[in-house]
Symmetry: C2
Subunit: 459 residues, 2 copies
């Protein structure tokens, strides 16, 4: 591993449980001064003689005052999360006590940990690689079963192992070529070029497969942005309620931070759909509504699935599609689903347009008719029914894989054009470099900064 | 100890850290099925062979799925918080993971703990007495240094020891009287009545002293309700800001739950003042404002200290006092402080009325002049400068002490009137009963129910 950041000498602390009042709050300490800090706040205890991995009941002093009676566990290096000296103190979960305890430790020379700093130290000390470190943050953030499973698999090294495999194959390839290079003046061609090309193509296929898994991986990690649109009184709200009633998991309203559009989370098929209720969309000339409509349009542009709800007694699917095409702009990959609501009020059923790209589903949001079919359609469209064991979930990884692919394509071209071995070797080293940035074997500083700053404090 | 509740046979669980996303969330298990439950969620581990007090890294399974890699510590009975078999599991602080983990444990036969149920079991099993158990909740709720100190002292048995002392003395008294009773037919007077009376009076003095400490104890535990009133533009807001700027601790706005009056917490002298900003008070006939004024009047009636802010260029202290007396109703014990604001704009200083019960202080909220003196006056009035080591903080304890006093007065009367020994003994047993309810040696069910229901879940 390349240490691109100086080893940190200071001892860091953080409240590792959520802020607020509770039965228990836990403060973690990590670094070389862990034991001196403990001796400072537990003056009556023989901290030096405490065995590792053994919770001790002790009196926490803030200066001369007894602050709390706590349970404290020392994890001696390297058998700890960060592989440094670590202690975890379980205090009474009073904001007053936790504040005083942290202030006491800070005054005694500790420093507040930056977001993700414990995990960053764990990574620096070789306890896990970069994809595993990133998976820690993903695991904590995961809200759906699939997002959780993907993060946990990454944490346990599922992704790293796959990358390591590819890396080993590339290294073998590189070694053979470098050997050729050493003897270049003797004009020998050691490696069997055909065999090399077959190996290369196998690697290319695998990298492409991984890279292609990002669309699904991203949908699993971040949820699928899904816009609900339609004319007033078409039944959007009724549909939303019907959908949310179907799910067994907890539903939360989060005010969109940038969009000012209310998002509801729908968990089905183990995955997450971020339903954007765009109440504002309609063909209006009202100037006052323009700002709202602009936001709605942005939401639609960002959506991967659009649910267009229409009142079957007022509007046909064909009319709806024409209206969408004339009024909205969304990408090629956006899937439009026309929901013929109030279909139970029609005497005849509507024939969907077989040639159209859109999906048509008759529903009756009020009675729940057709909702099951809609949920199944959403799950199928999302790809949540067939999830591979290893998949790419982070844009950073995807970007590195795309760079790797580019470099590998260069290698292939060089092979085919029988370019000199040293040029091929250079492209191969390029591919290895980009692959290495994923697990952190090669890790530019700017990447590290952005990775760990996204963590919560305490991890 | 009298077991007034049947011992509980089931095993309880709770998230003992605050809800929400964080680095770590801790689930506690307590009860006879702790080890079977652990074996269920850690199927790959030899839980039976785990030593006590030793954190283990283990894979938590939710059914067939690996849910998380966690640190779990077993505390074998009786060396645990509840003195039952206890385990604490530190999981990744993901709401999804914590929800799944709790569901898995519930499905396997655990029950969600009621508020305070862990502490209630600790008390039932003799790990602490009732005042200590109550102190756990107070310790977690404490926001000021004095409230924290009082709760911690109670937790460590400071109050219990004092009560135990009194109880022992009363028991000696009772034993001597009972002995007399046994030999009553022989008409013997064993005990030296004068000596008994002296002992009794000593106990009475001590109980009264404790009981009197409740006013301060309550102020320390709950903060001192302090209303800020005055005419519009007298400078109430400026004063509020000046006061809040002075404090070093964290200030929080809590919307009054019943009063609809905004409360600000002011921490000075180690104690807490609950500042009620009653913007609505003024001599108005406006019907629409009536509801707001009613609420303001209620706030004033509940206040222990009233800060009347006046504009010195517009109103004299005497006018203010007359206005208050005519328009407000507050109790005898309420302290009125007249703050002559904008005093820097006056050419002559105002002579305070020496004979009045109110305190007059000239201030200039804008420049901060006089604020220090006000803070000192508040701290002195609150009694925060001289806090005894042992004090009564809970209304339940106070009530029991008042009952004890009544019974002791009966005993004294009976002594003085030379009533038969058996009547005296009955009153003495009454006093012992009421004293015993405080520590829970005697504990009617209805008291227990109300005590533990006020706890947070997980304690």
């Amino acid at each position: 591993m390349i240490m691109s950041i100086n080893p940190w000498e200071d001892t860091i602390i953080a409240l590792i449980t959520p802020a607020g009042r509770g039965a228990v709050g836990v403060i973690r300490i990590s670094g070389p001064d862990t034991i001196p800090l403990l001796s400072h706040v537990f003056p009556k205890a023989q901290v030096n003689q405490w065995p590792s991995h053994t919770p001790k009941l002790a009196q926490f002093y803030a200066g001369q005052e007894k602050l709390d009676e706590v349970l404290v566990t020392l994890f001696r290096a390297p058998k700890s999360y960060t592989r440094e000296e670590v202690a975890e103190i379980s205090l009474h979960g009073s904001p007053y006590i936790l504040r005083q305890a942290i202030n006491t430790l800070l005054k005694a020379g500790a420093r507040m940990a930056n977001p993700g700093e414990f995990t960053q130290r764990a990574w620096l000390n070789g306890a896990l690689d970069l994809t595993q470190a990133e998976a820690v943050a993903d695991l904590i953030a995961a809200e759906s079963a699939l997002a959780h499973k993907a993060a946990f698999s990454h944490l346990k090294g599922g992704f790293s192992d796959k990358l390591q495999e590819l890396r080993t194959e590339l290294l073998t390839l590189a070694a053979l070529l470098e050997l050729e290079l050493d003897f270049a003046e003797e004009d020998v061609e050691f490696a069997d070029r055909t065999q090399l090309l077959i190996t290369l193509q196998k690697i290319q296929t695998e990298v492409t497969r991984l890279s292609n898994s990002f669309q699904l991986g991203n949908a699993i990690r971040n949820g699928i942005p899904t816009a609900i649109i339609g004319k007033p009184n078409a039944g959007k709200s009724t549909l939303l309620n019907a959908l949310l009633k179907e799910q067994k998991a907890i539903v939360s309203d989060i005010p969109g931070t940038t969009r000012d559009i209310i998002e509801d989370k729908l968990f089905i098929g183990g995955g997450e759909f971020r339903l954007m209720d765009t109440a504002g969309i309609r063909a209006t000339e009202d100037v006052i509504e323009q700002a709202g409509i602009q936001k709605t349009k942005e939401a639609i542009a960002s959506a991967q699935i659009i649910l267009y709800v229409l009142d079957s007694t007022q509007e046909t699917p064909q009319q709806a599609v024409i209206w969408c095409e004339n009024n909205l702009s969304f990408s090629e990959n956006t899937q439009l689903i026309i929901l013929g609501n109030k279909s139970d009020l029609l005497s005849n059923s509507i024939d969907p347009d077989k040639n159209s790209k859109y999906v048509y589903l008759p529903i009756a949001a009020k009675t729940g008719q057709g909702i099951e079919a809609l949920l199944q359609t959403l799950t199928d469209l999302a790809g949540f029914t067939e999830v591979p064991d290893v998949l790419v979930t982070q844009a950073r990884h995807q970007e590195a894989l795309l760079h790797t692919t580019t470099a590998l394509n260069q290698v292939q071209l060089a092979f085919e054009e029988q370019l000199p071995t040293d040029l091929i070797a250079r492209d191969l080293r390029d591919a290895l470099y980009h692959l290495g940035t994923i697990t952190g074997e090669i890790s530019p500083d700017e990447i590290l900064g952005s990775i760990f700053s996204k963590f919560c404090i305490g991890k």
